[in-house]
Subunit: 401 residues, 4 copies
């Protein structure tokens, strides 16, 4: 029998950019007895959840909750709005944008992949001007959707979605705007309605601080209208039956009851704290972590300070250092999990998650593990990042609620 | 803030045919801290799980685990093996067979729906001879798959899958055999390999005693071969990338880590007890519950004793009694959830789940609640079912392991 | 390694008169991280607890909470109020009164043990007139305390404490009144101030629905005054330092932090429901259980209906039947724990607990297990107790809060 | 209703020298349903526990487990071995030795308090030569017991108990040796039998990593013999009835069932890891923390390196700095609880706990919080302790088991 309790002493430090550490309060809520998903209490829970989740997406429109992980919500967004052969414009911000692009191809959509070239291209956010230029060229309006990643988990870049909307409006193009904020929601500021997003995709295991397993589509009227006519075969992901059942707080098939208990608790925690406070908390952590990276004399993956992610920071290793070898030392010596470099960034960098159920000292521990591990791996450091971050946190108190 | 702890005193009795009550041992396992789904411990867990789950399906072939609920696994089975326009033969055993049929149509497949007529048709299992006759007619072999439900959750009928396989063989027809045992697995005997099933669909929230949220496809070589050439757009459900990542115990996208912890615990519980003992346990409970129904002088929904379900029993109300009104009284007065009549059975019957984390006294409590509730509702009863079941359980001890 | 999860399928039925089943809500509260017992949050928790617990004892005076089980609180009551050689009057209601008497002797007190004779004597409550008569004889006022058990857990008799107070007043005797309501508090009506009790002793694992481990002394001014001058050596149990530290919500030594979390939750549950509703709930359960015993044609241990316990019911076996052999069959066949006969009642009866986190169907299950087990053991029964109780519960709904 | 979940984001750092952070594995074990403390499973659990706990005390003799917190076990040791008026020799190592001395006086024992003078006296361990000299003077053998604290929680000094035993033997004195290792057991090496200790007192909430609430007396034959004749009134604490009931794994009164579940888990964790490894782990943490204190240019409370505690380190503030004001800043700004200075050390120092469920990064976080907090409080520091400790941990790997 496998022992699930892997670590012999003390808590493992899970500082990957999701799944994020799950607060005890949420784990406790998830351990409540499963109830009848067709009974009256479930309906009350469903209505409450569907109302509260809207506030996190900042939308007056419906939010679909899937009993499936985030990748499923990507597919749902495409399957409900597009037809086989439809052209879509996607922007290559990093590995997850690339995976979404690959999914679109598998589903029979014709994606066009804009982006800056090479690995260096992954160190910037979405270039709204490139999107605008491409849309202006599309006088036949063959492009049915623009797909961008808000917080690119593989790089630590949080793109400016409002700028993308402005670009689309400037081009006068009717394409739908589909945005993945799986790792941005409830950590980075996000405004579904204000930014004119048609489908926002998100997941549970990042800013919502839940285990993975449920995911979301926030949808606009225009997206719903598209879903009535598109020709992609869809059933599990189809919005229509879910919207119908959701009116009374139910789902057309069995929902993830216990994860929904956790979601209810997470939403209470976030809304009680206030989203602005949540965002400020993450921005401050990110600033502290970047202060450490700078003190080490290392490069941050994201090269444009305007789009630094509040959720994670990519730390670029000096030429010749294998970032994964460094991660392995840190993991084995300090029981600290960091994110690996993905795709074009493989081996070049590692990622520090600073989201969800953290606090200053969690991050000091994390930076300490990184610092000691890099030294053990022979990475030359200019100075101590952990003391720089300590000073930053000490000098920049987060105002009490 | 909604209070999730709905019931003021004592444990709610959740005796619907799934989700089944989750053992504390599994809830505790699920509350372990989420780990990095790309780290070494996860790989070890994944390999262990993928090995143990095969034993429950009784297969040497791979079992796909989806981070999605059971309805998704239905879609996965279709999306991996069929192409738009393919003809499939489905058998109408009840409401869930009907929903699967509806899904097939939404996905662009051309299902043909065999079955016995009317509500009475729902009181029997799959008629293998009807399938054989239909397949013999299909000399052009246009039918690509036969889809049947093993344990029909809406009626309490557990069809004979081996007979379906024999019928297909007798007809010499090459169609794939797709079987839904979402509510049968780990409660009723099931043999993926021996019965020549090509895709077996199952879920977590029934015999596996987990909350809903993960689901399964056990697949044959023939099904894998079909998946290489079929033309249904597929990405999230696609077996190929999952099989590839599973070699090392990982998934191509984020799995439901904490539900997998629960699955690991559930598999240990089931395999330690021994599947034969698990099946005998459920058969005995079912026999006790049927003894009660007979003592009440009521009809069992399933009219063929050869296919009585070990998982649930449908209790048919006398003409003129609204089964849902009875359920409501039982729920409100005795904090006991029973399954509603679905589809053609709506209002005619209710369903008692006797699966998963139960014991004799749980069922005595359940039958007691039913008996008292029916009396309160004015249902005429021939005798006491609860004492009949008590006698049955007393006289038929389950041999110790 | 011992497996702590003893029962292979379904929940064990723990229907002994304490420890009572612990609600999940309390178990979850107890699993919160331990905090610094000298930090500011702890002080806030302590003050809140000390306030709420008073309401359950119905006192305006302090309640001492010990990090020790109930037997310790017995000792505390004696050690704070008496001196070696002091005479005390104790009443033999059953086994626990006898154990308290034994403790008094071990501590060097001179207890006098009033009571009705023999086993039959244990089938009645405290006889206030006997106490009054004895106190009237004590013209020298040598008796320093009268010690009685409110709810005698070994017999299912809940004595009339107000009558004892009236008897003491009638005799004009200044002795202190010490009352054990370890198994009565929060299930049976109890009024520390109104009944003029000087020290009330209670514990956590009964009506408060907590695991065992903390216990209580509710104290009067007169008791506090006695504690300033008595000569029993005392330190751990001494009220003075605890009262001092409690002013700010702290304890002079380490309290049982996590059990206090559970206590806080239990108090919220009880006070939200309302104590009168809690008492009515237990009275109704007790009446249902007695209906079953009467239908079986068996005797209830308590022979005076005025003092039937709402917490537990003793079921007397016919002459020649070993009650413990019956209990063993019930335990092994039905995973149901009942209370054994203690002391003079050993082998003659078993005890059914109907307290704490129960509901109607829990008790139906319990009575079902008893009925089937007694039949298996060859106990002749006049009729079905389980159906009689079902009818009772159906005909006597507990009004909603 | 008080919210028990006090901290808004991330886990609180509980780095006081006990209660120590409780591992999730233990919290989960404690949340198992309470069972009948007189049933067969409980007996099996009891026997297993009583066997395993002996290995942690390194004794072949019995260990008594009390359902009471550690202070109670102090009283138990005195109450079972001494009589009113007995002379005992106690050594003032710090605050807890002082409290024990106070308790002895309250219980009517005549303690003599040896020690080095003043606050500086609290910066050393037990002086065995002083004990030897005093015992040699006691030619009438009026001293019945020598009472010392092994790990003085208030100062971070771990005295040499073997040296005390040698001193007593050298003096040829028959007094009993009573040792408090409440905060030493299972963190610091301890050998009840080898060191000839007669009563060892310990508690649950330190090295055993449990919440507070149970405590221990490990006893020698000589102590048991003394308990047969001593004249201190005793009942709850009396060893005789407990030893008798323990033969079958039971207790004479209700034990703390759920804390015993946790104890069972804790013992499995410790014995699986191996006590030597546990001790080495704590020694290494202590060395890392002292490295930090030295880098800060501050004094360690303990002035004798031979008796540095592996469990906690006292950090002395420079003259004029109020250590509690520093602690308050650290607590409020970094959600980190440290131990306060107690008794003679009040305001002069704070204490860092490095015991139980910790790891390197937990301590780096702790030291980071201390460092930043001291800077904010204006404490002049010579250098960075957190980087010094990081280097220490990196350069001194703990060998894998």
């Amino acid at each position: 029998m496998l022992k699930l309790d892997f670590h012999p002493s003390g808590r493992h430090f899970l500082q990957i950019p999701g799944p994020s550490p799950v607060p005890d309060r949420i784990l406790r809520a998830m351990s409540l007895p499963t109830i009848d998903h067709r009974g009256p209490e479930f309906g009350a829970l469903g209505l409450e959840l569907l109302d509260k989740i809207r506030r996190v997406f900042k939308t007056e429109n419906p939010v679909i909750i899937y009993p499936a992980s985030g990748t499923g919500a990507w597919e749902a967004a495409l399957a409900n709005t597009l037809s086989p052969g439809d052209r879509v414009l996607m922007f290559e911000t990093g590995h997850f944008a690339t995976l979404w692009h690959k999914m679109a191809r598998r589903l029979g959509v014709e994606p066009e992949f804009l982006g800056l070239p090479g690995y260096e291209g992954w160190r910037h956010g979405v270039q709204a001007d490139m999107i605008e230029a491409r849309l202006r060229e599309d006088s036949a309006q063959e492009i049915k959707a623009v797909c961008v990643v808000h917080n690119e988990t593989s790089t630590g870049v949080t793109s400016d979605i409002a700028a993308v909307r402005r670009a689309m409006d400037a081009a006068g193009h009717p394409a739908l705007l589909l945005v993945d904020t799986i790792s941005g929601l409830a950590s980075a500021d996000y405004r579904h309605d204000e930014w004119g997003v048609d489908v926002t995709i998100s997941g549970s295991q990042k800013g919502l601080m839940l285990p993975p397993g449920i995911s979301f589509n926030a949808i606009s009227d225009k997206a719903i209208e598209a879903s009535r006519h598109n020709r992609m075969p869809k059933s599990f992901w189809a919005w229509d039956e879910i919207l119908e059942a959701n009116r009374n707080g139910y789902w057309p098939y069995t929902p993830s009851t216990n994860l929904l208990y956790g979601l209810n608790e997470a939403l209470d925690m976030l809304l009680e704290e206030g989203l602005d406070h949540v965002f400020a908390r993450h921005q401050r952590w990110a600033a502290g972590v970047r202060t450490a990276v700078q003190a080490w004399g290392l490069e941050i993956q994201c090269q444009d300070p305007a789009v630094y992610s509040p959720v994670l920071t990519g730390v670029v290793m000096p030429e010749g250092v294998d970032a994964d070898a460094v991660r392995k030392i840190i993991y084995e010596r300090f029981d600290l999990s960091l994110g690996t470099g993905l795709g074009k960034a493989k081996g070049k960098m590692f990622r520090i998650g600073h989201l969800g159920d953290c606090n200053d000292l969690t991050l000091i521990a994390t930076l300490g593990g990184c610092e000691a591990g890099m030294k053990l791996a022979g990475v030359p450091l200019a100075g101590s990042g952990v003391t720089a971050a300590l000073d930053y946190f000490a000098q920049h108190p987060l105002d009490a609620k």
